[in-house]
């Protein structure tokens, strides 16, 4: 018993820090089925013990109950750990997740992510005065004002503060204000060139 539940946890442990493997729907379903079977066996045993006074069934009942608790705990741990990884994705990638990752999330996880995004956005908007503060920016202490970046993918036009429009074409290099580039660097569109 509880083997499948443990396997789910091991699966998450194997994936290197923060990666999100595909949602193991099968695994969860098996754990739930095992729980159902255990519970039903327990129910019938409890009835038997009550009506026929078979107290030797009680240790088995207790054992099954602790298996049930274990399964509940393991599956909750699996699901919760996935949520934590998904939460980290919002901070890493921004509001729009890469499609590969989206395929690894089940519908409810996507729903959780959307809700989390909304909560976070409401909170950030409420900071300070009018527009709030986007605290997902400025992740590292600023070292220099402008940085050299290389464009990794075509991204089209990009406007900076004083109105100039820069065309971000693959492999072009630019000298841009740091604060404008942060999000693009994290999304993998720009690359900070340290020479």
């Amino acid at each position: 018993f509880c083997e499948k539940a443990l396997e789910l946890i091991r699966e998450l442990q194997r994936m290197g820090d923060g990666q999100l493997p595909a949602f193991n729907e099968d695994g969860i379903r098996q754990v739930l089925e095992e729980m159902k079977a255990l519970y039903e066996q327990n129910q019938s045993d409890v009835n038997e013990a009550k009506t026929e006074g078979k107290s030797e069934l009680i240790p088995t009942i207790k054992f099954r109950h602790s298996c049930l608790l274990r399964n509940q705990r393991c599956s909750a741990a699996y699901l919760y750990d996935r949520l934590l990884r998904i939460r980290a994705l919002r901070w890493e990638y921004g509001s729009v997740l890469p499609t590969t990752i989206r395929f690894h999330m089940c519908a409810e996880e996507t729903e959780w992510f959307n809700q989390y995004k909304k909560s976070l956005a409401t909170y950030m908007r409420s900071l300070g005065g009018e527009e709030g503060l986007d605290i997902t920016q400025d992740m590292k202490p600023p070292k220099s004002l402008y940085i050299e970046v290389r464009c990794l993918k075509d991204h089209g036009e990009f406007e900076i503060d004083d109105g100039t429009v820069i065309l971000l074409k693959k492999n072009s290099q630019h000298f841009l204000p740091r604060w404008k580039c942060e999000q693009l660097i994290r999304q993998g569109i720009l690359e900070h060139v340290i020479s």
Binding site: S75, Y123, G129, I135, Q137, P142, L145
Partner: protein
């Protein structure tokens, strides 16, 4: 840094001087203290929303100042750097808080609910709303994906037990700002006995957070 801030300080002094009882330099140093304390404390510290508001105001004024300066002027880039630095510290401070709220969410909400009316709050109203939403979101998720398919007697999870509490016994470095006498240090193991230490101003120590938690709250020590 002082005269960049005093430039901005002149502007804010005219408009919001009733609320700003500190000079901008004092404000920023208070922000840095709060930031370091929050970063190194294992639990969520008192909410400092007036400080956050003042700093945001300060940043807005500095940005406005910056718009007026001619481009390419050296002063502009110094101002810009300063704004970036302050914004980083503020963001990092708020991020630390949010991370702790998310990590300990059931305990944080419980603490806030059970505090007496006169006590200072740990969560700003917005943080409280965020924490509540986070709890509801997670509960709904767990229920929909797994719990409702489980046997009837296992369909709920006690969040307070399921989510670990902050470890108040973790060790922190601190610098003493105001001399403290007779701080009682509880024994860690059964063989030790409790003893008393005196903390002199300016000295630095490594202690369990639990022992000095009230001193952090009162501002008598600074975590480093």
């Amino acid at each position: 840094m002082a005269d960049v801030l005093s430039d901005a300080g002149d502007v804010s002094g005219e408009e919001g001087s009733q609320e700003d009882v500190m000079t901008p330099a004092e404000l920023i140093s208070k922000l840095q203290e709060a930031w370091l304390n929050e970063k190194f404390a294992p639990e969520l510290l008192e909410n400092k929303s007036e400080l956050v508001e003042c700093v945001m105001e300060q940043l807005t004024h500095m940005e406005e100042n910056l718009q007026r300066v001619r481009k390419g002027d050296v002063k502009a880039s110094v101002h810009r750097m300063e704004i970036d630095r302050i914004r980083f510290v503020l963001s990092s401070y708020l991020r630390s808080r949010l991370q702790k709220i998310e990590k300990f969410f059931p305990h944080v909400l419980e603490k806030e609910k059970s505090r007496a009316d006169g006590d200072p709050s740990f969560l700003s109203p917005e943080e409280f709303a965020f924490a509540k939403e986070y709890l509801a979101n997670t509960e709904v998720y767990l229920r929909t994906v797994a719990l409702k398919h489980m046997p009837p007697n296992l369909q709920s999870i006690d969040m307070l037990k399921a989510v670990p509490e902050p470890c108040l016994d973790s060790f922190v470095f601190l610098r003493v700002k105001e001399t403290q006498e007779n701080i009682l240090v509880e024994p860690e193991t059964d063989e030790q006995k409790e003893y008393v230490v005196d903390l002199d101003e300016g000295s630095q120590h490594l202690m369990r957070y639990r022992t000095i938690a009230p001193l952090v709250a009162s501002g008598a020590v600074q975590l480093i």
